[in-house]
Amino acid sequence: MAEEKGTVEPMSIDVGRGTRTTDVRKVDRVVIRFAGDSGDGMQLTGDRFTSEAAAFGNDLATLPNFPAEIRAPQGTLPGVSSFQLHFADYDILTPGDRPDVLVAMNPAALKANIADLPAGGMLIVNTDEFTKRNLTKVGYASNPLEDESLSQYQVHQVAMASITRAALEPTGLSKKDAERAKNMFALGLLSWMYHRETEGTERFLREKFAKNEAIAEANILAFHTGWNYGETTESFAVTYEVAPAKLATGTYRQITGNTALAYGIVAAGQCAKLPVFLGTYPITPASDVLHELAKHKNFGVTTFQAEDEIAGIGAALGASFGGALGVTSTSGPGIALKSETIGLAVMTEMPLVVLDIQRGGPSTGLPTKTEQADLLQAMFGRNGEAPVPIIAPRSPADCFQAALEATRIALTYRTPVLLLSDGYIANGSEPWLIPNVEDLPDLSVQFATEPNATDGSGEFWPYLRDPETLARPWAVPGTPGLEHRIGGLEKADKTGNISYDPDNHDKMVRIRQAKIDGITVPDAEIDDPSGAARVLVLGWGSSYGPIGAACRRVRRLGMDVAHVHLRNLNPFPRNLGEVLKRYDKVVIPEMNLGQLAMLIRAKYLVDAVSYTKVAGLPFKAEELQDVLIDFVKGLDA
């Protein structure tokens, strides 16, 4: 675990309530994984612990992992849901490869997750669920809690359900309802172990169950029971402290990628002084963007849940025609349906922001798992020569800036823009340095107001371009004297009339391409602290965290490696070709079969090596570290 700085500093202090003295160890980072049945509330538990860590000032990253089925059969392997949280006293890049602590609420959760727990790791199990029936259900021949199979871990067996039930007896809640609060018991226990405040969770539970005070109080009681269990039972000899991280100065909050994306769209509308129109159709893992935007109508945001993806993007394009910021959100299968309308937006040259929260494919694929396999679909997935700019955020918080950047390009160049997020950063969270509203870019646009013909006719030519950006004027209905017709048929240069002229078509195809190629994007930044690297690792989008963490590990081992991470995938940064040629080896890790590598090889004639994995899960820093070390050593040899 090279990302860890390895400070472990035992000391003994009096924690809180003065009942018992435990050893307190200071650690720089911890990875906890809560795992249970999908009905066990593991996402909520993880989320809560995350909020506590955030409020405490740790840096953090999270990885929720849940089944596609809403309720897979109880107690089965497909029904296991987990939430991994990495928190630290320094800036971290990933939710962690392997947990230091695994909380397993049932045998299925144990079986599905134990392989990831390193030897010596802490395992906390809810023994109540380890019945013969439940064990057989997941194929355990004997009870792992009773045989030797877990001997390499620090195992804590806690009868969470029955302790919670007993503690909640005075509340008069049914046994079943009382047991359901066992996740709060687990949260309480972990909160005790990591010296977390309890007030935030109490407040949260009171708000969450505001409509049912009895349930709220029962959950709080279960939470305290877990806390007290740690405090009083002496089965846990050590507690841990993870100090606040020294992040850049400012105010932070915890944010998921989808929330950041939705906020980015709200902010983009404000910065552009345009109403926002989201036309969309629900699909995992993009629906939360709709859910979030639907809450912010007070910012002039209209959300339209259409009859399908085609109608969603159609309505968004219609709104753009009317002068709104048209936005559509979906995942890969939805992009497939939207292709024809994206083509129409290319032809009519209207601003449109298309959000693709990628998931495992092809077809329905793995709806709740992550993948980066829509890059070539975004790049080429349309008939004809239909270039579209592509932006890919690198982390949950980066989704905010990426949304602003996508909007800037869409509005400035009058083009549809594809933003490629994915399930990993959409659902994952991290601290976000909240920007000052005054620092956000001015994205305001000028609608056309006057006829513009250069032949003295006094007409309006909808396809007369801005010489710098090659953008055409945006003349919205309601503007007198600029009545015009647009559509999917080829347009005559300048006048925008229908044209079947061969030379005109050739010209227009090239102009549309030149417009996208000419988009101003920031230069690629090179992370090469020693300046001595010969191997460059090139990534894009959500793999930023694991690649960055892997590079740190490699460097800590005394080797040199450079990292460039692309946010602009079309057009590429101007300096990219030159940067690539500076290195002896270019390695491109991707969660697909080498899509960026194909583009890079084709465009720059660089013999880039592809490292790919398409397992529905983000890369582990550990595996990338090994890959990079091999390349560094290979070159040295």
Partner: protein, 357 residues
């Protein structure tokens, strides 16, 4: 056509669209683009009807938008000197929904064909109608795919012989009026391309209706389906077949008004009767404002695809809140309840600060 008064505060279909005080003529609505339909195509008549009735609405031309799909008929926007979009096959109702929802000040028209609206775009059509978006949808029904040169369409009669169905088509056609009523369209009308007077009446009623209006226009395609509606145009034949609806009047037709529509006392359904047999008092008095769509639906079933009895005019014209009005209202409500404060949104509830060392 009698004015409809439900006694409710009602917005007209054009409320919010700026009006023009000067004089407009049909010529103002013509563009310099050469009209490229085949000679004799029914689309010309509809274009002329629309261009000549629009000035009567007294709207600012720049606040009118025509959105179409793909098909011969969908070329329509190029010939209208308004704003327009010739979009993609079947999707015009969706595009127009976004436009109408985000712009209260526009009069938005959709032009579509039987293939465009009922094959590829069937889903969008029924959803626009059920939502009751303030759109006027002109469905040019020539019972054929014109632009792709003559394949049968979802309104072609069973057994239709075309290039794609040399042994006759097998599928049962849609009745667009029945379909729209099934989707609870708040306004449904039908007219013939050749009957300028009735077409104009129906179009005007549609324009004044707030909500989705579907107007089916029987349109002749002289190239690929010539004479499809001739029986409705031939003197002698047409009087026997066309059943014109007039709000508030008994439904009668025939050269001497000898036929009519009455309720079958046994089944309660509508049927064509001889006035002399049932008596004038027993004729159904047409009421387009009846909430229950089954009345208008029954009217739409009087005739068959063989055009034996073809009901024309306004079948249904009821008041129902429109999607776009409601959507705008929600935004306004939200704005009034909570002023937009971006900084507060971004900060949220749980923040922490890292101070400078």
């Amino acid at each position: 056509m009698t004015a409809i008064d439900l006694g409710l505060p009602q917005l007209g279909g054009l409320a919010g669209v700026p009006t023009f005080d000067g004089k407009q003529t049909a010529k103002d609505y013509k563009t310099d683009q050469e009209v490229r339909w085949c000679p004799g195509c029914g689309d010309y008549a509809v274009l002329a009807a629309v261009q000549s009735f629009l000035p009567d609405l007294g709207l600012k031309r720049e606040n009118i938008v025509f959105v179409s799909g793909i098909g011969c008929s969908s070329r329509f926007p190029y010939y209208m000197n308004t704003y327009g979009m010739h979009s993609i096959h079947g999707r015009a109702p969706a595009i127009a929904t976004g436009l109408a929802t985000s712009r209260e000040d526009l009069s938005v028209w959709v032009v579509t064909g039987d293939g465009d609206a009922l094959s590829i775009g069937g889903n969008h059509l029924i959803h626009a109608l059920r939502r009751n978006v303030n759109l006027k949808i002109l469905l040019f029904n020539n019972r054929i795919y014109g632009l792709t040169k003559g394949q049968y369409s979802p309104t072609s009669e069973e057994g239709k012989v075309t290039k794609s169905t040399p042994m006759g088509s097998l599928d049962h056609p849609f009745n667009p009026v029945s379909l729209a009523l099934g989707a609870e369209a708040s306004f449904v009308g039908r007219a013939l391309d050749s009957d300028r007077k009735q077409l104009t009446e129906v179009l005007r009623a549609a324009a004044e209706h707030r909500g989705s209006a579907l107007v089916e226009i029987y349109q002749n395609c002289p190239i690929f389906n010539d004479g499809a509606f001739d029986v409705l145009k031939e003197p002698g034949e047409r009087e026997e077949r066309i059943v014109p609806l007039r709000h508030g009047e008994p439904i009668r037709f025939g050269a001497d008004g000898q036929h009519g529509v009455a309720r079958d006392p046994k089944t309660g359904t509508l049927k064509v009767v001889e006035v002399a047999e049932v008596g004038e008092d027993n004729l159904v008095v047409h009421d387009a404002t009846i909430e229950d769509p089954s009345y208008a639906f029954a009217l739409s079933r009087l005739g068959n695809h063989n055009l034996d009895h073809t009901v024309t005019g306004v079948f249904r014209n009821v008041q129902r809140a429109t999607y776009d009005d409601l959507a705008r209202h929600q935004v306004e409500q939200a704005k009034a309840a909570k002023p937009a404060n971006l900084g507060a949104l971004l900060r949220g509830k749980d923040t922490w600060s890292v101070a400078a060392d």
